[in-house]
């Protein structure tokens, strides 16, 4: 402000400059003179926390009791330990001394700059062994009061009266043996029955804003998990979906169940403020039923991935891979050069040690046994061959391994009952300019685990997709060049060849790039997604014949229902239009469509495995005719009823419409004259026609003009 301005302003406000003692003015301390800027408010909060609370102080117990002479030495040791974990405040370490004896009291207080550092120091050093008799007990200062208030005398916890829980499996007892599916579209999350007989869905539960990102069924279908800002929640129950448990985890991004749905793993990652740092990852493992957190893992993303280009945005999900089987015993994590296998009994590493495998890039559990397959690529420029190995857990014994040469990449596919492992191996050609693919097939259940090599008829074919028949011995491969690759079927078991892999057949030039086996095997959908625009071919592998060829235009997702009776295909909101899903029968008959704008997700509710033994299942399959009779009759009844209902509904609609039309028609009639007047007397459409009709009507009548009587004389 120019001086002149100041003067005029002062004059306006009636201030006499000569009377103002400028020296007496004291600005409030601080760089901003106590004026708060708007956007600094955010930081302000943090600061408050660290100035006032004792959150940044830890108490370290079980220190050696030392005399004054050794005081300094101990202090230095402590400083050395704790300054690694965070910045200790100036004079932040205080070790009280007994004024009478001059001995330390065996504990000290350490004040860090931030509560985060203190928390970290507590976690890292609690249980730290200084020597045999001095194991650190570290607590937050803030927890001190709480811990001191623990009552001396033990009080028996009150036993709560037993309240029978809801039947979480009730959906399985549906009278019509229908399956449920969940969809998300717009703000709504809806659970439906797929009522294929009625050719429609029946709503079970609908809720807007049920989840903040996505929903997921647990592997056996008992729970539906939703994600929220504060954590995850599971829903289920007999009739409607009620919340069964909540799991606190701020800003949870991803969740994963253990296969037996005993545990829930939640994941959160935070982008680093400095883009060169790795993002921070926090993973928690909860017991699904009790809601108790069993273990949490924190660290930078590097610790949860093998690094490389894939690991930039965080760890690849799922970080923890669960061993197969329903007992949820082991889970494994892959990080650089190490495989960490944890057991759920203690939630610690097996034998307290990770497995060191140099350069391991991929691990895969058998779906049924605790066998881990792993892949190590070539090293030393090809001097050390690539390797695929099977490791038994918890013994960590290598069951089988195979060295592979000039390999560019490997992919492992387990068959769902853990009988076979197929490894797709991409090898370099001699010139190293291109690659070709083959398979190594492991027969896990046979003695010594024999390995068989399978090469395609045309070695140079690219492999586009591979899939095992669930619970079966066959697999399908899409190979060849786009846009019309071939599809081949192989079997691991034939009557003639015994235990050799044999080709069943090849279908030439199919518009397919993805394979979807029915969960019961036998049927497969050859799907052309993405640039094939949703071509679908329903194929019977037993008979090697196509059942139906059809299309769900622009389909993005395909999912079989857990029984293999129906298939849902969906167009999700990656496309702008035609969003919604379509339900097909297993043989490719379109049953019904359901259009929903902004369609995000569709998921069938899984079913737990059947209690029937394979023999029993076979028996049922054999006597299918006997059993199906009853259901066919039922079906017939339903379809009759349905067409009856349909007819009635239509009739009602028609009647309603007729009524509505009639009502205004009379009005229309009344207004006839008015309309005519508006047209200068010209009659309007219908009336004209009516008149025409009148004109056309032939009117016959005899007019007696005159009657005279004449007597005719004979």
């Amino acid at each position: 402000m120019a001086e002149l301005d100041i003067d005029t302003r002062a004059a306006k406000l009636g201030i006499d400059w000569s009377q103002v003692n400028l020296d007496s003015i004291q600005l409030p301390p601080g760089e901003n003179f106590g004026i708060e800027s708007d956007d600094e408010g955010v930081y302000h909060d943090d600061q408050l926390e660290f100035d006032t609370g004792f959150g940044n102080i830890i108490v370290v117990d079980n220190l050696p009791v030392v005399p004054k002479t050794k005081f300094e030495k101990l202090e230095n040791v402590l400083k050395k330990i704790y300054s690694q974990l965070g910045a200790i405040k100036e004079k932040g370490l205080w070790m009280p001394v007994d004024p009478n004896t001059g001995m330390t009291l065996g504990y000290c207080f350490i004040e860090f700059n931030t509560p985060q550092e203190a928390q970290n120091a507590k976690e890292k050093t609690h249980g730290y062994k200084l020597d045999k008799s001095h194991i650190f007990a570290v607590n937050m200062f803030d927890d001190f009061d709480r811990l001191m208030n623990v009552k001396e005398e033990w009080e028996a916890p009150q036993t709560k009266p037993y309240v029978p829980g809801e039947n979480l499996q009730k959906w399985l007892t549906d009278e019509k043996a229908r399956d449920q599916l969940v969809t998300r579209s717009g703000p709504d999350t809806e659970v439906f029955w797929n009522d294929a007989r009625q050719k429609n869905t029946e709503l079970v539960h609908k809720r807007s804003y049920w989840t903040e990102s996505y929903v997921q069924w647990s592997p056996l279908g008992t729970y539906l998990v939703t994600l929220h800002k504060q954590g995850a929640a599971v829903w289920g129950g007999a009739d409607t979906f009620t919340r069964l448990m909540r799991y606190q985890h701020n800003m949870v991004k991803l969740v994963d169940f253990s296969p037996g749905e005993k545990y829930l793993v939640t994941y959160h990652s935070q982008e680093p403020s400095n883009p060169r740092d790795a993002s921070k990852v926090e993973i928690k493992v909860f017991d699904v039923r009790t809601g108790r957190m069993m273990r949490d893992f924190k660290g930078s993303a590097d610790e949860f991935s093998i690094g490389g280009p894939g690991g930039v945005a965080g760890a690849s999900w799922p970080v923890f891979r669960w061993a197969g089987g329903k007992d949820d015993k082991y889970f494994a994590k892959l990080s650089k050069n190490t495989i960490s296998v944890y057991e759920t009994e203690t939630f610690g590493l097996i034998d307290k040690k990770s497995i060191k495998v140099d350069n391991v890039v991929d691990i895969c559990w058998s779906p049924t046994d605790s066998i881990l397959s792993l892949f190590v690529p070539e090293q030393g420029g090809g001097n050390q061959p690539a390797k695929v190995a099977l490791v038994q857990i918890p013994s960590k014994v290598e069951l089988r391994q195979k060295n592979l040469f000039s390999v560019s990449d490997c992919k492992m596919y387990w068959q769902s009952s853990g009988e076979y492992l197929a490894v797709k191996v991409d090898r370099y050609t001699k010139t190293k300019k291109s690659t070709y693919s083959g398979f190594e097939l492991f027969r896990i259940k046979e003695r010594d685990i024999p390995i068989e090599v399978l090469e395609l008829d045309n070695k140079n074919d690219k492999i586009i997709a591979f899939a095992w028949e669930p619970k079966g011995h066959r697999f399908a491969v899409i190979h060849g060049d786009q846009p019309r690759p071939d599809v081949s079927f192989y079997t691991m078991k034939t009557t003639q060849h015994g235990g050799r892999v044999t080709k069943l057949g090849t279908l030439k030039a199919k518009q397919a790039n993805a394979l979807f086996w029915s969960p019961t095997g036998k049927y497969i959908i050859l799907a052309g997604l993405k640039n094939f625009n949703g071509q679908l071919e329903f194929f019977n592998v037993d008979e090697l014949e196509t059942m139906a060829t059809t299309e769900h235009f622009m389909a993005t997702d395909i999912e079989w229902d857990p029984t293999g009776r129906y298939v849902a295909t969906a167009v999700t909101s990656v496309h702008e239009m035609e969003n919604g899903f379509t339900i097909w029968s297993f043989n490719g008959k379109l049953l019904y469509r359901n259009l929903k704008d902004h369609f995000f997700q569709l998921a069938w509710r899984p079913r737990p495995p059947s209690f029937l033994s394979p023999e029993k299942e076979e028996e049922i399959a054999k006597n299918l005719k006997k059993y199906s009779k009853k259901y066919e009759l039922e079906d017939q009844d339903v379809s009759l009823l349905l067409s009856e209902q349909d007819r009635e509904k239509r009739k009602a609609l028609k009647e309603e419409w007729e009524k509505w039309v009639k009502q205004w028609k009379s009005l229309h009639e009344e207004e006839k004259l008015a309309r005519q007047n508006l047209r200068d007397g010209e009659i309007s459409d219908e009336e004209e026609e009516e008149d025409e009709a009148k004109e056309v009507k032939e009117v016959e009548f005899e007019d007696v003009i005159d009657v005279t009587e004449e007597v005719v004389q004979e």
Binding site: W664, H668, L678
Partner: protein
């Protein structure tokens, strides 16, 4: 059903209109010349030259002698159908979006777009019997409640007593054609959720159908503005029409022209979809356009219909005999 392809426009079609006898078809396009076609064989009969901007809409009088057109050149023009001569030009300060003759052809309703600082409005003009006596003054001007939003269509209600309008603000309104008072608004709960693109009356003025970018079309009672039916299309609806013969409605549209990519032409779903008017069920579709459908019209005899697309073609379809026996 083999369509007759009518190629005469150089730019996307905007509107199609049959005369009462169903022997003439008028087409409007973003090129500047409305065109008259023989509705039977699709031969071009003539053009109406004089506009200097895209022509958005037209209407023909009951006696097929007069044509009115609304154009982006900020005029609405009256034409002599027989000679193709321009009879009169109404000048506005902003593009004329929709035109509609009243019963008796003595009045016309014209809507104008928001333009510069002008807000959208509905104008009612008196149409003189002798073009010599024609004046440009408006009998009535209705300002739109939300002037920044375009009114895409305004038509006369029964007995010229009301005017029905709909547009970008998604609300349908009924106005008193005498006093200009707003009589009714459509219920926001059941109404359209996005721009209303088109509106088409039943032959007897009892009900009308609207198409919207919210991917639905809706059928309304013209007097009470109650929602009668909803047709779900899955793609934005640009054009709607009702069969005068059967209980069918036809919807046309597709992905927005600006969003049409180089992918498969089927991706846009440029299909004229037929629905059962009463049961609201889809009956079938007529494919062929390789751009969104902007205009649809049924021949008054209900035996043929034509569609106009962003691709610049008018496709004239005479129904096969099977069509008249569809049962669902």
């Amino acid at each position: 059903m083999r369509p007759i392809l009518m190629k005469g426009h150089e730019r996307p079609l905007t509107f199609l209109r049959y005369n009462r006898d169903g022997d003439m078809l008028f087409s409007c396009a973003k090129d500047h010349t409305p065109t008259l076609w023989y509705a039977d064989n699709g031969e071009r009969h003539g053009t109406f030259r004089g506009h200097n901007g895209a022509v958005w809409c037209c209407d023909v009088s009951r006696d097929s002698l007069r044509l009115i057109t609304g154009s982006a050149d900020q005029t609405a023009k009256l034409w002599d159908v027989k000679t193709g001569q321009q009879l009169f030009s109404f000048k506005f300060g902003s593009p004329a979006r929709s035109v509609d003759f009243a019963l008796g052809d003595k009045l016309a309703v014209i809507t104008t777009d928001p333009f510069m600082e002008r807000t959208s409005a509905i104008h009612v003009k008196r149409i003189a019997e002798d073009p010599e006596d024609q004046v440009s003054d408006s009998v009535l001007v209705l300002p739109s409640p939300d002037g920044k939003k375009r009114i895409n269509r305004a038509v006369w209600g029964p007995l010229n007593q009301t005017i029905v309008s709909g547009g970008e603000d998604t609300v349908l309104r009924i106005w008193d054609a005498e006093t200009g008072k707003l009589l009714k608004e459509s219920d926001a709960e059941v109404g359209h959720k996005n721009t209303i693109t088109s509106l088409s009356k039943a032959a007897d003025d009892s009900h009308f159908i609207t198409g919207s970018l919210d991917k639905t079309a809706k059928l309304w009672d013209m007097r009470t503005l109650t929602l009668l039916k909803t047709y779900v299309s899955g793609v934005p609806v640009n054009a709607v029409s009702m069969s005068p013969l059967l209980d069918h409605v036809v919807l046309g549209g597709g992905q927005d022209a600006s969003a049409v990519t180089t992918t498969d032409h089927r991706a846009g779903k440029f299909e004229a979809k037929f629905y059962d008017k009463i049961l609201q069920e889809e009956i079938g579709g007529v494919k062929g356009h390789f751009g969104p459908i902007n205009a649809l019209a049924f021949n008054p005899d209900g035996k043929s219909f034509s569609s106009g697309g962003e691709d610049g073609y008018v496709r004239l379809h005479h129904f096969d005999s099977d069509y008249f026996n569809i049962r669902i």
